[in-house]
Symmetry: C3
């Protein structure tokens, strides 16, 4: 088997998997203060439901265009939600790089977020796709853009914590 | 930690994960015309429900023994199903190579397909296992055989799109 | 992209993924006699439900502190459960190493176990996290400790087979 041509892409996918793992860990551990750190300062985070995405409509559920906006969001979440009444569990798989140009990796991944309530009952909270632009800042991978495209319909009020 | 003996097998597993990722992407993106391209020309695709598989019975839900048959299937799917009323999401994990002999890799993987209907409701459509024979044609990994062994019982009429 | 500093950690994560894959395969294949072989002789296996874990309470659902205890458990399972009435399917993702010291790798992973009954109906049986200590014995990765921290509440009597 000749791996030589694929290894650089597969190695880059491992780094992006690693970024996803750290991203998921801080959310699942309820250390959401660390969530904005996975983005560049001018990073974009959007939740774009699939029904709007496929029709070319904007209609985002969430839209932040800087790490500062994300930090503000985290602060308000902490004030509004005194008790952590759910546990989230991110399953992130099928990482694949579509293109890499001028230091920007365009990548996709599939996700499932399972949510367990305080009675220990688990549901599929959301499944869908991440569409990302990843860059390296001082040797560390960061999201320049993360667009979450949920397949699952959610009432927006339910999205307390980022997907 | 001495990785030297395991690295070739783990690298081959990455290539097979990559084949799975491309396979899943075309199905989840509803680009099913590309699905047969992941097989050799004489490739086999079977869905063999676990209850039959463990008893040694044939009883396949689907059985194609060439890429041509798969292409015919795709054409008829496109005619019969004008609207894409579901979104599928493949989660493919736990890739492991059992044997490699004469250029044929025998591998297994676990899968879950989550299906979301046009009201945005998500269910576990099918979970189970892939049992594969993978070969390299002109440097590209292809399925010489993919046997899907679902744990989940499905009415055969529900399997519009390949698992 | 400069991978040089991350590659050794990512390679170690691949080895731990591989250990998880073999662990899951023997459980999903109902070859539970092989389950204790993934632990060191003095290995620890605990199921520590999240509600107790976060409060710092002991309250384990299962607690074995040697491979011998695990083998005894397997024998009694085989006597008590003549028929295999469920199929389990482990989805193990998001492997990440927190620390490595003196040959002991501290690692975490997310898991989902899907269970299908003999009518072919699939449910989310348990989701949660593995917190592991992994060592190498004669070149093979083994669990020195595996703590399963389920998010999902389960009646203890339902946990016939290890998670």
């Amino acid at each position: 088997m000749d791996l030589s041509s694929d290894i650089p892409r597969l190695d880059a996918e491992r780094i992006i998997q690693d970024l996803n793992n750290r991203y998921a860990e801080c959310l699942d551990d309820d250390r959401i203060e660390e969530w904005p750190e996975h983005f560049t300062q001018d990073g974009i985070y959007k939740i774009h439901p699939r029904e709007n995405y496929v029709l070319g409509l904007e209609g985002y559920w969430l839209y932040f265009d800087s790490a500062k906006m994300m930090r503000d969001r985290v602060l308000s979440l902490r004030e509004a939600n005194i008790y952590n009444i759910h546990v989230d569990r991110h399953i992130i798989t099928n990482i694949r790089i579509a293109t890499s140009q001028q230091g920007i990796y365009t990548a996709r991944a599939n996700y499932v977020v399972l949510q367990t309530n305080n009675e220990g009952k688990t549901i599929i909270f959301s499944t869908g796709e991440y569409m990302d632009k990843v860059v390296f800042i001082d040797g560390t991978a960061k999201f320049k853009e993360r667009v979450v495209i949920p397949d699952t319909y959610l009432a927006i009020s339910l999205i307390a914590v980022p997907l």
